[in-house]
């Protein structure tokens, strides 16, 4: 039995201001939490049902654990369906981009937390370790984003800042996805670079396009006007890293 104040506090972390006040966020789902326990992230508090704890007992010594029941977890959760475990976790400062990082992703004002989470998962699939989000982008620690990474937020560093500055300091040429660039099925593709994907509605801002070393285009065979941000990222990476 945990206090109402504890439940209120966990729920409050669904709000960005609260997360930033405490430098803490929520991780849900058994798979993500199992991976979290093996990661460098610091767990402030783990809430879990008794059966889950017994099955995972080896990984949870030295962690502050409260046993809860499904009803309590449901009250704390951002999900409709109750989970067996939920962790309150401390923000972790992203690691720096190194000279070994051949490809980095830049997201220019991405708005949808589910899209950001899906892109983090795609980056993790293709072995990309860093994503740079422009200042106006959605928050990594939004529960919808964390949930849709399926645990990949543990392995991909998300930076917030000026995409062009990051490209210069990492010495990675800017590559921008546009509708009138080099056909990625035909042209020779860059061996390294910072790939910029635009906002869902407006694409990449002109001042970034003007500084691009490479303009890339996914060839279209049918009639859809565009592809969504996560889908474009996946197709471009599949062509760049192959």
């Amino acid at each position: 039995m945990i206090s109402k104040a504890a439940i209120r506090f966990v729920k409050s972390l669904q709000d960005k201001k609260q997360r930033q006040k405490y430098n803490q966020f929520i991780v849900e789902g058994e798979k993500s939490i199992t991976e979290l326990l093996k990661s460098q992230f610091r767990i402030v508090k783990l809430y879990a049902v008794q059966a889950w704890l017994e099955a995972n007992i080896l990984n949870i010594d030295k962690i502050d654990v409260d046993v809860v029941d499904s009803a309590e977890l449901k009250q704390m959760s951002s999900h409709q369906s109750p989970q067996n475990a939920l962790a309150v976790v401390e923000f972790k400062h992203p690691e720096s981009i190194s000279s070994e990082d051949k490809f980095v992703i830049g997201l220019d004002e991405i708005q949808d937390p589910g899209n950001l989470g899906t892109i983090i998962r795609i980056a993790d699939w293709y072995g990309i370790k860093h994503i740079v989000c422009s200042k106006g982008s959605t928050d990594l620690y939004n529960p919808k984003c964390i949930n849709s990474t399926m645990g990949s937020f543990l392995r991909v560093n998300v930076h917030y800042g000026d995409i062009v500055e990051y490209s210069k300091s990492a010495k990675l040429p800017l590559m921008v996805a546009v509708l009138y660039g080099v056909n990625i099925h035909q042209g020779a593709l860059p061996k390294k670079g910072l790939l910029v994907i635009g906002n869902e509605g407006h694409g990449v801002k002109n001042d970034i396009i003007q500084q691009a070393a490479h303009l890339l285009t996914i060839p279209r065979f049918g009639e859809a006007e565009s592809l969504n941000a996560a889908v474009s990222t996946a197709i471009l990476l599949d062509n760049l890293v192959r």
Copy 2:
């Protein structure tokens, strides 16, 4: 000024049972409706604000139109933010798969309407005209699905039925995306076929895998365990049609 009964009826079409009772569904968004007006779909009723009607007057003769204000549209809409136009549209029977259709997509119990909509948009980008959904799949006419197609539902035929039967009658060999198949960056890929993508949680059912002529795998360069259904579809199609 429209009646409360009319608003109630339009709202009721967010429910699958109501849609199936009337064989009607909702299309929202100016872009989708502009394309809808040029399509073969029959519009039962168009609700729009005066300014939008004046700008689109050439396309709307012979259509039953009711002028509404933003507040009324918002009451009818499945969106949070009000749109300038909303149409009630009749179901349209999908066209048949022909011998010119080299690639068809099969979706094995896809559950999320947003995923289905995104896959319809991807199909439209790659010039794929037909998607076969197994019986337990989410409903094409769900407003979330229609919205996320961004108008592509007008050009892609969605069938519901047995994926294996469709593959036989269209003479398209079954291709299934699995984690242990042919690396799509290296192997010779089929020139035609019915590409089956699995359910978000459980992948493709064994009885479909057992009948597959080709097992295909997207190579992984990092550590994510999987990719989501729409992202996998996009990467596979990009490799198949190139």
